[in-house]
Symmetry: C2
Subunit: 198 residues, 2 copies
Amino acid sequence: MITCFGALKERILKDGKCLEGGILKVDGFINHQIDPDLLEQMSVEFIRRFADVKFNKILTIEASGIAPAVMLGFLLHLPVVFAKKKKPSTMDNMLTTTVYSFTKNRTYDVCCSRNFLCRGDKVLFIDDFLANGNAAKGIIDLVQQAGAELAGMGFLIEKSFQHGGDYLRSQGIKVESLAVIDSLDNCRISFADDSIAC
Amino acid sequence: MITCFGALKERILKDGKCLEGGILKVDGFINHQIDPDLLEQMSVEFIRRFADVKFNKILTIEASGIAPAVMLGFLLHLPVVFAKKKKPSTMDNMLTTTVYSFTKNRTYDVCCSRNFLCRGDKVLFIDDFLANGNAAKGIIDLVQQAGAELAGMGFLIEKSFQHGGDYLRSQGIKVESLAVIDSLDNCRISFADDSIAC
């Protein structure tokens, strides 16, 4: 069952902006300006949803994933690793993968040091958006290369009409998204679960 | 008086790595893997050091500034804005400035929406490193363009031998750095304040 998280849904309806081409702007509270109190509420909700899963590390990808990952790591006292979109000249012992971005119509490399993503690690991946799932697939590749285990994937907002979530769930991955949007057609925000309780 | 923050200094000595060319690697606890508990301690220290300053917003720059800025914003219940190094296609009402990176020997644009950096805002800027101060100068430019006020600038680590801090302090800006390194010569980490109390 898809359920969404009331506090975030309300905030999306209040401050989110829908642009042409299936774009949802949440730059007032998630990915340019951040509301740390909402961030805490969202992290608490992730803790509830992943309560039955064991993990020892939070993994994310720069830049917009860092804030939710750090808040969750703080509440759980777990280290947070952020994969980088550019290879730092000083990174050694590196894992890399290539991700295709539909939005930007180009590929980019994502990399992570083996020093911090290790065999035996059980990682929970956190990011702001799940759309077509290409970044998530890149993360799965990095986790596999490292010999680590993916405990689950948590997203603040899933655009279910872009079907990345379908793919990840079909792979048996536990995926939790705090707000699931099933259409942005005609610049109207439609949530997958429109029940009042949501 | 330059003072440094004991918990961070100890961690730098334990897990920091000094590379050729004045580079200090802190990717095990600050800018690739993050230790959220240390992050909290550092934010508490910023709160102490900026206790006499009024501000209503935390400003930082992606990507490594996000974690310390979010933690500080969370503890103070203040919004956090991160300036971006690439112009998002959906950003409107934008402020931009150009920053020259000595490390990478190239310029890059830094941008921020006027919607979130506004006339009348009093902002505390937070970042992981202060070296030659070029990114900080770009931020000062953005703050001035917005008609906002810079309440202070806080850095986790200052490399005082690269003199960005001298410039910022000469402009009358309150600058606080939690660890001040005055030399990385011969791949040895030397702190500006080597007293036992530090």
